[in-house]
């Protein structure tokens, strides 16, 4: 058995300043058809990550066919003019490749991950899926049914249910942003092969698109891209204007889940995007409030009170505008007190940000960057975000420089201009029979019980 007194460590070590760091600089080239190729050569990263970013906002979807962008993207790898569904899947997986996608309000992203030695074969298939997909009736119909089932799963999941209810309220009623990116049931159900084929015909093309490649790239990468994407024609391609989001009217809602043992909440409002002059300030402020493990919110609601496994506050920027929210799952019995305390903590009137808090936030952001962007997929993801939000190649370097200029006063000014704790939208998924009254007593007098299917 060890003696408790035998343990006598030296003084706590200091941290040496990290060295300088920059996000990698890409090489850029543009094919004759207009496709821009953005390549990041990262030696030692043997799995190449490619992201094709299409400048197709969700505003491109006809109102009655919302979800068609998602259904189209999800069916791209289900057969092409050259290969059947099964053949295509076999070829792609024989090449060791993974195909993925991301549909956001600002644009579409098609993603390929593949070991570098198999890049040629995989890029060939990737181009085939994007440029000449079959989008056949049976496959589209199946993807529609699978999306409808997925909506059922999402509504049954409390954190997703709260998020769905939150976006319906935080964005102006009746606008695209208030509805799920992947489409709501009524319009998804209306999507058919003709709709998907028209959407592809009208909106998929090389003009305005960017192919991002990151990893240990072969010397031949430019000619490979030219070979596989050079024939892609943009003759039919229609440009679509981006429409910024608008804020909704404040509400407090409960999505009723009978018997739920926790209440999942989203509590927040309308925010800003990365080009707003307050972005660095609000990044620091929200890290202090709900980003760090020992943030003001998590430090109290988890570490002092044990009300939750974790609570966080985050700003979610869009290409233009954005949202922010406090989110977490709290046991049913304490939801009223948890929200009361959260609202008090969110007020900085009597608890200003301190210089130490600001310094910790800034050094955190600076310190995590080298590792976060050390891998091919880390770089490609960030480059795609920058492409979708129309940010410069040195965006992260500029951001880190701006973070260093943040003061407690500037963080507080940005925070108070955006966060009024008494005017936030609340969406809770939980047992309304048990939580409605505590929420009313917690000064959410206007609480309404809603049904996501309504």
């Amino acid at each position: 058995m060890s003696q408790p007194n035998a343990f006598a460590p030296g003084p706590r070590p200091h941290i040496a300043e990290p060295g300088p760091w920059s996000f990698p600089t890409p090489r850029r080239a543009t094919l004759d058809n207009g496709l821009e190729v953005v390549s990041y050569d990262l030696p030692g990263q043997h799995v190449i990550s490619a992201s094709l970013v299409l400048d197709v906002p969700l505003a491109a979807e006809p109102r009655e066919l919302e979800g068609v962008a998602t259904i189209t993207c999800r069916t791209l790898d289900e057969g092409t003019a050259k290969h059947s569904t099964d053949e295509f899947a076999e070829l792609l997986e024989t090449a060791g490749a993974g195909f993925g996608l991301d549909v956001s309000s600002a644009g579409l992203q098609l993603i390929l991950d593949v070991p570098s030695r198999r890049l040629d074969a995989a890029l060939d298939l990737f181009a085939e899926a994007v440029t000449i997909p079959a989008l056949a009736g049976p496959d589209i119909d199946r993807q529609v049914q699978l999306r409808l089932a997925e909506i059922g799963q999402a509504r049954a999941n409390p954190s997703q249910a709260a998020a769905i209810a939150f976006r319906r309220t935080v964005f102006a009623a009746g606008t695209r942003y208030a509805r799920m990116n992947d489409g709501e049931p009524d319009t998804v159900a209306a999507v058919d092969a003709e709709a998907a084929q028209s959407f592809h015909h009208d909106h998929f093309g090389p003009r305005g698109s960017k192919l991002i490649l990151a990893g240990e790239l072969p010397d031949t990468v430019q000619s490979l891209v030219e070979q596989h994407f050079g024939v892609w024609s943009g003759d039919h391609q229609r440009a679509v204007d981006h429409r910024p989001p608008e804020p909704g009217a404040r509400r407090s809602v409960i999505v009723h889940r009978p018997g739920a043992v926790q209440a999942d909440l989203q509590f927040g409002g309308f925010g800003i995007d990365r080009t707003d002059p307050r972005w660095a300030d609000i990044s620091v402020a929200s890290y202090i409030m709900g980003g760090a493990f020992l943030s003001r919110l998590n430090g109290v609601l988890r570490e002092e009170l044990g009300y939750t496994y974790g609570v966080r506050m985050g700003f979610n920027p869009l290409r233009s505008g954005g949202t922010f929210s406090v989110s977490g799952s709290f046991r049913t019995e304490v939801i009223g007190d948890a929200l009361t305390r959260a609202r008090d903590l969110l007020s900085i009137k009597d608890q200003p940000f301190t210089p130490a808090e600001v310094k910790d936030a800034v050094t955190y952001f600076a310190g995590v960057s080298p590792l976060r962007y050390a891998t091919a997929d880390g770089v490609a993801d960030q480059a795609a975000i920058q492409a979708l939000a129309v940010l410069p190649d040195d965006y992260l370097d500029q951001r880190l420089a701006r973070l260093r200029d943040v003061t407690p006063e500037s963080a507080a000014a940005a925070y108070e201009s955006l966060v009024d704790p008494d005017q936030l939208t609340l969406a809770v998924a939980g047992d309304a029979d048990k939580i409605a009254e505590p929420l009313r007593q917690a000064r959410f007098a206007d609480i309404e019980i809603i049904d996501l299917e309504g």
Partner: protein, 426 residues
Amino acid sequence: MTSASLDYPVAEHVLDNGLRVIASPDHATGSVAVNLWYDVGSRHEEEGRTGFAHLFEHLMFQGSANVKSSEHFALLQPAGATVNATTWFDRTNYFEALPAGGLDLALWLEADRMGSLLAALTAENFENQREVVKEEKRQRYDNVPYGDVMERILDQVFPTGHPYRHTVIGSMDDLNAAGVEDAREFFRRFYMPNNAVLSIVGDVDPETAFAKAAQYFDIVPAADRPEKLITDPLPPLTGLPRIETTQDVPSEAVYLTWRLPADRAPGFDALDLGFGVLGQGQSSRLIKSLVRGREIAESAYASAMGLVGGNSLGMVGARARAGTTPEELEDALLSEIDRLADEPPTSAEVERAKAQTERHWMQELARIDSRADQLSGFATLYDDPQLINTRFAEVEAITPEEVSAAVAEWFTPERRASLIYRKEGR
């Protein structure tokens, strides 16, 4: 086809107190990953104390002799660190990745809690973290559809008293019954340098890494190491165990499970590829036939979960499309499993499964933090950290014939357990 050859450097050194230290330099990012595996997981828990390894992991962040409660995070995050810990059936790991200038602080903090956790453990922080863990259980398991799948599966596959019979999160009753004395006892029993592996990967040379490890950990005394837990392998299941449950779930679902050989035991890799052929990827048989072909499933998968304690766990699952009954879905899954014998996996199918494994493995090793975790794991479980370079070659050497032989021995319909989720009547 030849795979990319892996050649990550691996250097080892054992401190006098028995702490095994592994260093693997990588100067690309100026960052360093510190990773500690303790050879204790939920399989080491005793009856009536399930969930304890994981609850204990939380307590490791509540301070030690020279560190205040939660100060571990408070010191490391401003240094730009990602910090966390996880508990699994076979181990508990603690890790931080940060700019290399923070290496000394990370090691000092890990040594302080390894050497002096009990000096700071109080009834108050024990109570607080018990509540946090109960919220974690509610959030991840009790309050989501199908959240009890794993609990029910383990109950079917492993006999009473078996180390894998219970989940890592444990039972609410056991969490409620635990006391701070149990925590002290747990620490004394499992947390000691000679029951741990420390990996240091990144912008530091092995000699420096070893010197720093010695500087901070040498003062932690060795203690009586718990005996290695050896669990005898069980034969495949018999008697077709079956559970049906009716719940408020969005879709009816079927989960079929098998006992498999332990991770890396003969047959396991072949079975892992067999499960891949059956149910991983768009070209797998289940996706082809149930999701795309017959359109009776909204999703389907097959996977082998490697465990070291005698047996691993094989799982095949699917959610039913509207209009398909769980019985029809189960029959369809079983006929695909039968077909693995009637139409054995082809070399093309096995190559595809290997190609997917290879990509995931390369992506895992691309990050210094996950590379450090793999080094600690291979050293802890197999006494061989060099496996990070050679493990994939073991998988690549498997032939389709070996896949068929292992499937015939372990992975047949009569050796399964079935778990059926029905929707509550509306």
